[in-house]
């Protein structure tokens, strides 16, 4: 018969607070998961580099980045809860087939690049243990593919999430390294901004890795999938906002730990082994192992979510059947896209002598071009009364959102242009 417990007709109603906690737990998930996937291989690398090269010089950016992230992700979550539709779905229904199609092409390109980055993370982390990438990457790709298609992804997701406790290592390490908190605070409040090209590129990289287009598609889809209703939206918003803050708290500590160890020691990051030194204050000689574990988990987690979310969005937009509950014969496009992304992502890493940097940059360009497009779509959609009813943006929210769109778009386009023209 039924799965759900039948409430006793005469039992006293659960107290208000307990009910709130339960309702929060019921809708929790999309925000937290998006946040942790956001701290993927690319994220860890970028934050480490930022700390190692510029010390505390870029810490100040995290505050505006967090605000922007919250603004963007909150809008997605709200659209998901109110319309009950995914972002790709809304774009297709309201902007027609052409714009949708080219947006999806860009999303595919950008996420292929992101997937490459995840497998690069797998390769780098296991190379610390001396495992060849020709072994680790194909195995990881096969594992991820199997896990989602035949395996028990839902359960493993919890393992991934649990393993994200690893980020606390950065918090501990950052504290143990005894950074001059006064100077951290000083540099965060009164940043000495610089205008040289390398600094700006790093800044753009930070923004780009934290606010990426896949996140909007993924999170909105996750909210819809979870079946969050408008009544429960305040709880969902809490989930999303705390997820965003968590992402950036982790970023903060990675930067601080790297600044206090690597930057202070004058070490430039050349390999993953160098980046691992940031964990030495906590883990001592075991720092490399700890770092490798964390990077491996983050890479594998994101490698299972990203291709899946991408294939899902593309199918949703173009009207193909999608979902891992469908058989391969029922949803051929979906499985082709999903398999293709993983296979290609892993294969690119394995091509001998392939310059990874240009590949990653190309994906950054695709991300950079795509982000403004997605954000503008979102802003147009969220202000539509026929879709959102009374849940459209207020004036203040619109102002904040447009500033976010303009600044992030400006930065993303700057990056795209510099990469494209090879300027530095």
């Amino acid at each position: 018969m039924e799965v759900e417990a039948r409430p006793r007709p005469l039992s006293a109603r659960a107290g208000g607070r307990r009910q709130s906690v339960l309702r929060f737990l019921a809708v929790m998930g999309p925000g937290i998961i998006t946040a942790n996937v956001d701290n993927d291989a690319g994220g860890i690398t970028t934050y480490s580099l930022a700390g190692a090269r510029y010390g505390y010089g870029l810490v100040w950016t995290l505050l505006p980045i967090t605000v922007a992230l919250v603004v963007v992700q909150e809008m997605c979550a709200r659209m998901g809860a109110v319309t009950g539709k995914g972002l790709a779905d809304l774009i297709r229904e309201n902007f027609g087939v052409r714009l949708t199609f080219y947006t999806m092409v860009l999303l595919l390109l950008a996420d292929l690049g992101n997937t490459v980055a995840e497998f690069a993370g797998v390769a780098a982390s296991l190379e610390i243990f001396g495992v060849s990438r020709y072994l680790s990457v194909p195995l990881a790709a096969a594992f991820v593919w199997w896990l989602v298609v035949y395996g028990s992804y839902r359960r493993v997701e919890k393992v991934f999430l649990l393993a994200c406790v690893f980020y606390l290592a950065y918090v501990a390490s950052g504290v143990l390294a005894q950074p001059g908190w006064a100077s951290v605070l000083h540099e965060s409040m009164a940043p000495r901004t610089r205008v040289d090209a390398a600094y700006v590129t790093m800044l753009v990289g930070l923004v780009g890795t934290t606010i990426a287009p896949w996140m909007q598609f993924y999170q909105q889809a996750a909210i819809v999938e979870k079946g969050v209703r408008v009544e429960d939206y305040p709880y969902s918003r809490l989930d999303v906002v705390s997820g965003c803050i968590f992402t950036d708290v982790v970023a903060f500590f990675i930067i601080v730990a790297c600044a206090a160890t690597l930057h202070a020691g004058g070490v430039a990051i050349e390999t993953a082994g160098d980046a691992a030194q940031a964990l030495r204050p906590l883990a001592g000689a075991y720092c490399a192992g700890l770092f490798a574990f964390g990077l491996f988990n983050a890479s594998l987690f994101s490698a299972s979510v990203l291709p899946l979310a991408t294939a899902y969005s593309v199918c949703e937009a173009l009207g193909w059947e999608a979902g891992v509950s469908k058989r391969m014969r029922e949803a051929p496009h979906f499985y082709a896209l999903y398999t293709g992304l993983i296979a290609l992502g892993a294969a690119i890493i394995l091509v001998p002598g392939i310059p990874l940097i240009p590949v990653m940059y190309l994906s950054q360009v695709a991300n950079g071009v795509l982000l403004p497009v997605v954000l503008v779509f979102m802003l147009l959609l969220i202000n539509r009364r026929d879709l959102m009813g009374q849940h459209t943006n207020g004036t203040a929210m619109n102002a904040a959102a447009w500033v976010t769109v303009i600044v992030t778009s400006g930065l993303s386009l700057y990056l795209a242009v510099t990469v494209f023209f090879g300027a530095g």
């Binding site: 018969m1 759900e4 039948r6 007709p9 297709r92 087939v97 359960r155 079946g227 009207g319 026929d386």
Partner: protein, 420 residues
Amino acid sequence: MANDGPFLFYSALHGRPVLDPDGNLVGRFDDLAVTLTETFPAATALLIRRGRVESFRLTARWRDVESVDLAAVRLRVPVERLVPGRRLPSEPSFWVGQALLDRQIVDTSGAKVVRVNDLHFLRVPTGDLHLVHVDVGFRGLVRRLGWSTTMGKERLISWRYVQPLTLAATGESLQLTVARKELGRLHPAELADILSELDGRERESLFRALAPEAAARALTEVEPKVRQRLIAGLPAERAADIVERMPPDEAADLLAALPQPQSELLLEKMERAEAAEVQQLLRYEPDTAGGMMTTEFVTLPSHLTAAEALERLRGLAREVELIYYIYLVDPAARLQGVVTIRHLLLFDPAARLEEIMRRDPVSVRPDDTPERVAEITEKYNLLAVPVLDAQGKLLGVVTVDDVLTHMTTRAWKWKLAHAP
């Protein structure tokens, strides 16, 4: 008129120039309104775009349209006779571009949710334009992108198998009698799959389009979470209409999961007899034989002959889920014995039920566990097991499909906890 055949795609017409009788440009083809009522709905109005601003649009009634082809749309009347703005004609119509293009529909022939890439019209010699197919194939997508008209596979779905899902955009409701009939023909399990797959509003709109019987059957198949939400989204009157058509045990499960004020309201609005049955079931814990049983079963007086019993069954067969067992009870409703349809067919038609019945059949108590019920149904190969109270009074029966649902749900839960 151009020689472009009797069939036209919406994408080929969209953006075509609209000319007045003197051949002057009025604007461009923007959308088409069609009737709600016909099998293949005829066009009733044309929306003409002039620039980007919505309020500059003009609506031409179809009788003012002279001809439509791939070169241009020609009007019979000058601009001044057109209606300003987007105005639906007085007969019940909807705008096809707004309600269908790029949106999801249910293909009732394939029992699937698909996205519309293009619309296919038939132009009849009288000048009328009928919507005959929706295009959901890859070729339609490629055509819309403007790349090629021959690449990819063509997939057209006849309009009679299309159930649109957008109500919001077209005002009140897009209830198409034809599609509704087709929708009713879907297997409840297929309908339930479709309902689970759809997102919030579209799910509600499809559910509203169902006749109460079909809605009740689909509702018994969907998962509890979706089920509660669908019922919660309906006005109480209509929800009660549907719930009273569900088997009482399923209805009880549904009501028990709803917030108390809402379930009380529904019980109030339901027919008294059905409400009483459901209320009785609500007393039992869900994880017991009492919680699993239904109160719909066949009882007959034991003095009837086999032939008379068969005749009575014929009348009951429509209403009762399981008619294989006929339970025989005394005036105090205590279970005396059971007769199966097989017995009725095998024995002499003149034999009395009390002579052929099996006395003291296996039974369970309302507080027995589902495992015990499963054990008994398995051991004695039963299709249903009666539930008796301490005095031997027949309270209800647990059917084997409910036992199975319960056990598979548990197996799934175990699997979810241990494997997926």
